[in-house]
Symmetry: C2
């Protein structure tokens, strides 16, 4: 018998308790032993829950119980999740989490603490919900070098962008509806301003490179500014607008950022719609591999946590490649230095000859719409100066 | 230092030797030790190869060398790959393979032999080339119950079908060109008649259910009969024709088969083109998860073998869920009993009223083209009898 605890009994935490029961046979087979939920930490009581008798209100009984081998942290937020995790790891308990905020900001400390105390800190559920991308990167791609990642990492924004494209509606209208339907939070900033995707691309980059790059070094652009006209423009480019988290990784350098991008139809990511997530990982040997599935939700996320529970309690996680994260900004390429192709739309017609003479490549889509490239931010601004007019919309194209 | 051998030094075997050298640092980190290629078994000599001095012509030196911990079997074909694998496993050496023929036909014996001798038998490269689907099923999905698999499992046929769709060409024409380009074999039967995909869906079903179902119980339909008109018909249905390997799995039953299917545009698989493979796996918790990538080729396949090498030599594979396959036909649902929706095309107009009165649902696409469903083979044949005319084309639609 292996004993575990859940700290934070919300949507995901409750899902894990249900999954442990529902998938008892499969989990027992994977672990090689039965798994028993001994404690649930929450501020609330759950008198009507079948696990109501296991609820505690402080972390101490869990930390002090030598029977507890593993704790699922599904509290969310940095504090006190961070402090509890440190306490638990220091007490020799493995922790598995869905908490991307803690992993993206403090993953280095958590992993070091776990290594020091001979336990595991796993976080499959922190990126892509139920999509099994993290373990795959650490095992199946372990013998290779990941050089590129592009992902639709946030389901809420993908839902909004999909409806904008399909209905020709504007952002505000679809957001309001998404909020009504419970797909978007009342304050949608973390999703629509790219903060959630920023955390996830930070985690994925750290897995690929070992570098945990501070959020302030990772450019994140909102998708609030995308309009129905932009969607129509993307279609003229042969693509669709998606909020993409990207990383380009080499031995010495890393470029990572989140921005709305026009994704060409030929790219698998352009066909990933609604609340689904997709993560494309590139290595020299494999070319592109893409993982696709539900990026959030009670059961997909609980499934990822359950997989981590199995990996820890079977002993496999201790033999797999255990990541080491080092906080660093070294070798991080300034976003303004990265070259892109751009979709640009002007309010009026422009002097096409001047435009063509100033950009390396220009493709006319329409009287007022063009694709220009390849250039960085400075060259782009010089272009507007020389043209004497600024476009009303500029969207980077995924290559 | 861990010593390994490669048996069968062809495209994939040679790729593994190159990958071991090229990705030395990453592999050493993943294994926790250096990996050294000690023997290459092949009938030929390779005097110009950097590994030419390691070539042997019989299996004996490898079987008898206690230093060799693991052997990569990349010979292909059943014999002598099967006998060599048994010898090696019995001598206490783990075997990792890309040989789908051996896994699909004798995987039960190989896994039992490995378990008996306390070693591993892994076969990530046997399905989907470099796509990390097998380890993911055994680890990330270990705590869940896989109930459905649908995959584009063969790159050659997907390449042919993609070109037929895009160019409006007929099968024979595109095949001839694919053969010229080296994408299809001179005798393309194994690919186009679904034999290769049949082996792969057998392996995936065994991973999900433990049941290794004999090939003669697995319906496989050729895609040679698909025409340019069928492609146009698929488009009218809002989809594309793909060769799909499918499995539906429950505790007691399994239905598995390979057939050309019309895949609706809303399904991710419809957007997987050219030589790419894609495998959608469904579980109650996750919904659909899809893995996408290059299904064949020297380096993608070598990458999958290298991942298995890392899993064995790090010790992780011994802790992961080790599959047990049992050969059985019990609970295998007869293909003729499975209900589908069908695209049907007649040479002439038909009596629509009779058609509508006989099928549960009928959707008219055109004067001579309809979607009818849901029914099994017998009901479909009765339909033609009562209509008094047989269609010139019938293609099952993926739901």
């Amino acid at each position: 018998m292996k004993y575990i605890a859940i700290i934070g009994f919300g949507v995901v935490g409750g899902g894990i308790a249900a999954v442990l029961e529902e998938n008892h046979a499969a989990i027992t087979a994977a672990v090689g032993d039965t798994v028993e939920l001994k404690y649930i930490l929450d501020l609330r009581d759950f008198p009507d829950s079948p696990w109501g008798d296991r609820v505690v209100h402080t972390i101490d009984p869990i930390v002090n119980d030598p029977d507890v081998a593993l704790v699922c942290e599904t509290m969310g937020g940095s504090h006190p999740a961070l402090e509890y995790t440190m306490q638990l790891l220091s007490a020799g308990k493995s922790v598995v989490t869905s908490n991307k905020e803690v992993v993206a900001n403090f993953g280095d400390r958590m992993l070091a603490c776990a290594a020091e105390h001979g336990v595991n800190y796993l976080f499959e559920a922190s990126v892509g919900g139920g999509i099994p991308v993290i373990r795959s990167m650490l095992t199946s791609l372990a013998g290779d070098n990941i050089c590129r990642i592009d992902g639709i990492l946030n389901g809420t924004t993908n839902y909004i962008l999909t409806r904008m494209r399909d209905e020709g509606s504007d952002y505000a209208e679809v957001l309001a509806d998404a909020q009504k339907l419970g797909y978007a939070e009342r304050d949608p900033s973390a999703d629509v301003d790219g903060i959630d995707a920023q955390r996830k691309i930070i985690i994925l980059t750290a897995l690929a490179s070992g570098k945990l790059i501070p959020a302030e070094k990772v450019y994140a652009e909102t998708m609030r500014t995308i309009t129905a006209e932009d969607m129509a423009g993307a279609k003229k480019c042969g693509g669709a607008v998606k909020l993409i988290g990207s990383a380009r990784i080499s031995d010495k350098e890393a470029a990572l950022f989140v921005a709305p991008r026009i994704v060409p139809d030929a790219c698998q990511l352009s066909h990933i719609d609604d609340v689904y997530n997709g993560i494309a990982v590139t290595t020299p040997l494999l070319g592109d591999v893409l993982y696709y599935g539900r990026g959030a939700g009670r059961f997909p996320t609980a499934s990822a946590v359950a997989a981590d529970v199995c990996a820890v309690l079977s002993g496999a996680a201790m033999k797999e490649k255990r990541p080491v994260f080092t906080v660093t900004s070294e070798g991080v390429i300034d976003f303004d230095e990265i070259w892109f192709d751009y979709y640009v739309r002007f309010a009026d017609t422009v002097d096409e000859e001047v435009l063509a003479s100033l950009a390396d490549t220009v493709k006319k889509l329409d009287e007022k719409e063009f694709v220009v490239g390849k250039m960085g931010k400075k060259a782009l601004e010089q272009l507007w100066d020389k043209l004497g007019v600024k476009p009303v919309s500029v969207i980077r194209i995924l290559d």
